[in-house]
């Protein structure tokens, strides 16, 4: 085959050169192959040394790429310039440049207000107990509390939803009935497509005094009167985690199911001959088989832990559970936008971004160190 091609190239060299330059159409199959080979070699040479022709051909790509760069600069990179606001007492003026340049710089004042390190120091000097003083710090500094809530709920959601998705994927994979499997899977995707508005509305109905949960609790005389789950701070985090599980288990399981399908069936056959039961097959074949997928998804999602804390908490939160429901994003919304302190909101946002990047970097390094392939 290769020999044939070479021959053709030699014979038709001059002709094919012309053809590719003029880019004329028709020819026999053999000469097409020849032309392509010739063209390929030339283009490889060209890509190393930029010729005018190549630039001309790539003009469209350059223009399109340029447009996308401008778009990206405006909508993704320009806001980063707004981080200057965090170090100012930002006041809005006629245009962006004027507001940025004429606002007074206050240094790290906004960050000091956010973290209130003084509180921590004072209580440490009083008690000389690091845990007690951190507790006092969390109690007194609003922003520190929102950090705790964001991380706490983020971690709880990540762990519980990952475990549920893997469990669901593995168990669904064991179902032999094709139609049953398809039905369960189709149903499992459904909640993912509903908005958080609808999901929280549904959740309120289910947990309301006339909802099914209270009906069941009454039926078994666990409570006499209906129990209001939204009034007790203790219940808030579990409710958020459960609503996440309800909404996303089926969706998250898609990737794990795909990973399970990719496992070589011969491994299962071999295990069967060795007398492995279903549980052993899951433990020794399925779980190790999807481990790389689990690691990659965990690495990806750890960076998103801080981003996950907004909609549910905002929609379900109320005054009674505020101390455990407020997350960084809600804090930004309340102080930065609601009360108009743009600088404070920006400072909180910067903290969130920096922590998110650090989290990704750390989890990526851990994944690589432990022998798995990370993201980068």
């Amino acid at each position: 085959m290769a020999y044939e091609n070479d021959q053709n190239v030699n014979i038709e060299e001059s002709e094919s050169n012309q053809a590719s330059n003029a880019s004329a159409g028709t020819g026999s199959g053999a000469s097409n192959v020849a032309r392509k080979n010739d063209y390929y070699e030339k283009s490889l040479k060209k890509s190393k040394k930029l010729s005018k022709g190549e630039l001309k051909r790539q003009a469209v790509l350059l223009i399109l790429g340029g447009i996308f760069v401008v778009y990206g600069l405006v909508f993704y990179y320009l806001p980063l310039l707004g981080w200057v606001m965090a170090f100012q007492n930002f006041k809005t003026k006629k245009n962006f440049w004027e507001s940025i340049s004429k606002s007074k710089f206050v240094g790290l004042g906004k960050f000091k207000f956010l973290f209130q390190l003084g509180t921590l120091k004072e209580s440490f000097e009083e008690t000389h107990n690091i845990f007690k003083s951190i507790k006092a710090w969390i109690d007194q500094a609003d922003f520190i509390r929102t950090i705790r809530n964001t991380f706490g709920m983020g971690a709880l959601n990540l762990v519980s939803s990952t475990v549920m998705a893997i469990l669901f994927a593995i168990l669904l994979n064991e179902v032999k009935n094709k139609y049953g499997k398809k039905f369960v899977q189709t149903v499992s995707y459904l909640p993912h497509f509903l908005s958080w508005i609808i999901v929280t509305g549904i959740l309120r109905d289910v947990l309301s005094s006339t909802g099914i949960v209270n009906d069941i609790l009454r039926l078994f005389h666990i409570v006499d009167d209906s129990y209001n789950f939204f009034m007790h701070p203790l219940w808030f985090w579990p409710i958020v985690a459960l609503s996440n599980i309800w909404k996303e288990t089926g969706w998250n399981a898609i990737i794990y199911l795909a990973a399970i399908t990719a496992i070589d069936p011969c491994l299962y056959e071999a295990a069967e001959i060795d007398g492995a039961g279903r549980l052993n097959k899951i433990r020794y074949i399925t779980l190790p088989g999807i481990a790389p997928t689990i690691i990659i998804l965990l690495v990806m999602n750890i960076g998103n832990v801080l981003n996950a804390g907004f909609e549910v908490q905002y929609l379900l939160g109320n005054g009674l559970v505020q101390k455990v429901s407020q997350t960084i994003d809600i804090y930004v919304l309340q102080w930065g936008i609601g009360k108009g302190d743009f600088s404070l909101g920006t400072a909180a946002g910067i903290f969130k971004s920096v922590v998110a990047i650090a989290l990704i970097a750390i989890s990526n390094t851990i994944a690589k160190k432990s022998g798995q392939s990370g993201l980068f």
């Binding site: 778009y71 508005i197 006339t210």
Partner: protein, 335 residues
Amino acid sequence: MSINKKNDEFALNYGATHGGESDLTADEIKRLKRMAKKNTKRMDAGGWAFVIINTIFLVVFTVITLYPILNTVAYSFNDGLDALRGGIYLLPRKISFESYKTVFNMHGFLVGAKITVFRTLLGTLTSLIANALLAFVISRRRFLFRSSLSLFWVITMYVNGGMVPVMVLYKYLGLTGSFWVYVVPGMISAFNVMVLRTYMEDLPDELEESAQLDGAGYLTIFLRIISPLCKPVYATIALFVAVWQWNSWFDAMLYNRLKPEYTTLQYELMKLLSSVSKQGGNAGTSATQAAASTQVTTVSVRSAASVVTMVPIICVYPFLQRYFVTGLTIGGVKG
């Protein structure tokens, strides 16, 4: 069909899992295979227990997933006053369509529906075109700035300015208080671009080369060669964007709170739901009070509004399953 030891996967695997080369004869392999088949058919007590527990788990899972939705539907078709007594599970007790009439007579809700349909259509179309073009540019192997452009967009996945700077920017760009804030800023999502790029890179290079030989420019290659082959992944991205557009409410609240003409369906629904929750979750105790204030009580109305909002998506998604499964697998694993 005879078994060639070198080619038979089973034999190779048996060897691999049992350490070293398999020294089984063809007959032995056949016998082992038969045994394996028998093993799967014959189930011991443990196997049955597993099947039963698994079935129970999946049935409970399905019921928990479906029940709240069916319950909402039941409430929406029930008479509003009657619904306050509770005790409605899967079927309405006293059928009435009043709640739907109320919902369809709400001015804000109709405006929201119109805007939402419009933003979903326009937003999905523009976003798909932009994402596909960008992915096309990044996936061209010979493109000069291929890797730098790619990095430029990957960074946007992880670093963002935050809520306040973004809002200030939109304000100065004149995007707040307009419809365009729904379409323009979210047009490109780096995640979607990466999914598209991965798919495009997996297409054979020869397609592009032969088209270039025939004198096709990059735009022609994009429209005539790449796009027709990318239909499945386009469908995936369109679905992702459409669902996101349909379900968004936060942008309406943040940027267009003072512009009721640009409200969205979900935002209207949120206002409806939060007004109820402020009245008190224990609707049962204040039934007479609520009944006195409104003809059709809110439990049914908000159920009806929720049903109206979720019906379009529920009708569409089962038919697009195979698309989002492939899209998610590409995006998730290759990131």
